[in-house]
């Protein structure tokens, strides 16, 4: 059913990238990149490290500007941005990173609320919104803990909640699963799908092509700063089945790993005592 929604992106796109080129010195980081992301669409951006994924995301949240070409995010146009417009763009674009970027001197709830606090929202409104997000990510019981005491997967879920606090039109995720073990990575991916179901567009960058291949989502394949391929993948089974299949694979793999480890440990033990 989420597919239905994704098949029919609304006539206005959230992100438009037109002939985007970015060079550093004589190095082409991005070379004539074009694509559109519709309202509520879910898009994976894949490519090896150095393909220009992060650079492209930075252009979208306008941490950097294109050497030539244009990025359009809602009403914000890269060629017409003034420095003072940037904060308002950032409130329309949620951003999630591989290293979470949580504030270590604030509780989980404060971390999530910060994006709303800086808009001058009322404490009551912040509290309500944060509580609802905490429920969505299943961490309400940890709202008063410090981020360091959470697992990586939990920290990433907090980061995602923070990115969503101002109801952005799109969520950008730069290798959000890069630091996570497979189980947590899957949790994060599920969460992103759930958010997308709620109508928020998601653009997730990852170098792990195989991980995202068979979810039936659009994949933009970046290679050497160019769009190598931009296509919708087929869904094998349904989303949930696909995730379950992944987990089963992983659990089998884990059992094998475990057996190997045990094998090695027992074969090493005698040599150790010698």
């Amino acid at each position: 059913m989420s597919d239905e929604q994704n098949e029919t992106p609304s006539d206005r796109s959230v992100i438009g990238v037109f002939h985007l080129t970015k060079t550093y010195g004589d190095q082409h980081a991005l070379d004539d990149v074009n694509f559109n992301i519709g309202n509520g669409e879910f898009v994976f951006m894949v490519g090896p490290s150095g393909a220009g994924k992060s650079t492209l995301l930075r252009m979208i949240y306008m941490d950097e500007y294109p050497t030539s070409g244009q990025v359009v995010v809602g009403n914000f146009v890269s060629t017409r941005m003034r420095r003072r417009d940037i904060p308002y763009l950032r409130r329309r674009v949620g951003i999630v990173f591989q290293d979470y970027k949580l504030l270590e001197d604030r509780t989980v709830a404060e971390n999530i609320g910060i994006g709303m606090r800086i808009t001058g929202a009322s404490p009551f409104a912040i509290k309500r919104r944060v509580a609802s997000l905490l429920n969505d990510i299943g961490l309400y019981h940890k709202r008063l803990e410090m981020p360091q005491s959470l697992s990586g997967g939990e920290q990433q879920r907090v980061a995602i909640a923070r990115a969503l606090v101002n109801h952005p039109a799109i969520l950008l995720a730069d290798e959000p699963t890069g630091n996570l073990d497979p189980d947590s990575a899957e949790d994060v991916l599920r969460l992103l799908f759930k958010i997308n179901n709620g109508g928020t567009a998601v653009l997730m960058a990852t170098h792990d092509h195989s991980f995202v291949q068979n979810f039936g989502q659009r994949i933009i394949h970046l290679r050497d700063g160019k769009v190598f391929e931009d296509k919708k993948t087929g869904l094998v089974g349904n989303l949930s089945d696909r995730l379950d299949a992944l987990r089963m694979d992983r659990e089998r793999q884990k059992r094998v790993d475990h057996a190997i480890k045990r094998q090695r440990a027992s074969s090493l033990a005698p040599t150790k005592t010698e």
């Binding site: 904060p87 001197d105 910060i114 606090r117 800086i118 001058g120």
Partner: protein, 289 residues
């Protein structure tokens, strides 16, 4: 608006509370360098007071010829008072002068009883206006007064004036040079202490930018924090200075502490330096998008 102010104050207090260690280190560094500055300022303050007290006593003595009568003396009085540079003129009759002299002599006063006549002349003492209490101005006035009819002699302590002028000039030169060095190093040290605080929150600034905080929202808590640090450091340095002053009183009994007014101006300046230091240190990070 109110909510924003509360946010800013809340953020500033939070960071101070959370980074107690760093905050105290930077406050201690600030107060020590401010102490250096305060010692200098106090020394200058005392020197200036000494100079002005000395200047206070600068007078020109105008001695009248013997034959000058009451009417003529009154005319002279008006003429002298009419000079643009003069603020006050006082008449000292020869009898008053003798009485003064007697009291100065104390026990030896009976020496004077040998005199059959009063040898002292009638005189005026003339106080120049503040701005004319310089060597050159006094010489100018004195020369002019000496030309007046009925004036026998004008005295103004020429040698003392010359010496005093050169001492004051020397003091000012040294004071300005030392002051420049002290102020520059205090600003440098404070700016660095504040920068240390800001660098430690580089990540916070980066994250606030990512979630869409506008620059004033990012800057304001830091400025309040800088001002707070400056204020605390100012009070600390004044307390230390007070101790230093009390200790040095045994050597220099006339040492004065800052007046309340000057203390307040000093603290206000330190608050401003702290705020400004924060702002300068932040500017670098704010240029990031």
């Amino acid at each position: 608006m109110m909510r924003r102010i509360l946010y800013i104050i809340d953020e500033a207090l939070r960071t101070v509370k959370r980074h107690k260690g760093l905050t105290s280190i930077s406050v201690i560094i600030m107060s020590l360098s401010l102490l250096m500055l305060a010692v200098f300022l106090l020394a200058t303050d005392n020197l200036l007071k000494l100079v002005s007290e000395t200047q206070e006593e600068m007078k020109i003595y105008v001695y009248l010829e013997d034959g000058v009568g009451q009417q003529e003396a009154e005319k002279l009085y008006m003429t002298i008072l009419g000079q643009a540079e003069v603020s006050r003129v006082e008449f000292v009759s020869k009898e008053d002068a003798l009485a003064d002299f007697k009291s100065q002599l104390g026990e030896d006063a009976d020496l004077l009883s040998a005199l059959s006549t009063n040898p002292l002349p009638n005189s005026f003492w003339v106080v120049p206006k503040e701005e004319y209490k310089t060597r050159d101005a006094i010489v100018g006035i004195a020369d002019r007064l000496a030309q007046l009819k009925g004036v026998e002699e004008v005295r103004y302590g020429k040698e003392f004036l010359d010496k005093f002028a050169s001492i004051v000039k020397g003091i000012y030169t040294v004071d300005i040079v030392v002051g420049f060095i002290v102020i520059m190093s205090a600003i440098f040290i404070i700016a660095n202490a504040v920068r240390l605080t800001v660098i430690s929150r580089k990540r916070t600034i980066e994250i606030l930018k990512l979630v869409g905080a506008t620059n004033p929202f990012i800057v304001a808590p830091f400025i309040i924090e800088g001002a707070f640090q400056g204020g605390v450091a100012a009070v600390l340095s004044l307390v230390l200075l007070r101790i230093v002053t009390e200790v040095s009183r045994s050597a220099i009994p006339d040492l004065n502490f800052f007046s309340l007014e000057k203390s307040l101006i000093y603290m206000l300046t330190c608050v401003l330096i702290g705020a400004l230091g924060s702002f300068m240190a932040l500017r670098r990070y704010l240029r990031m998008q």
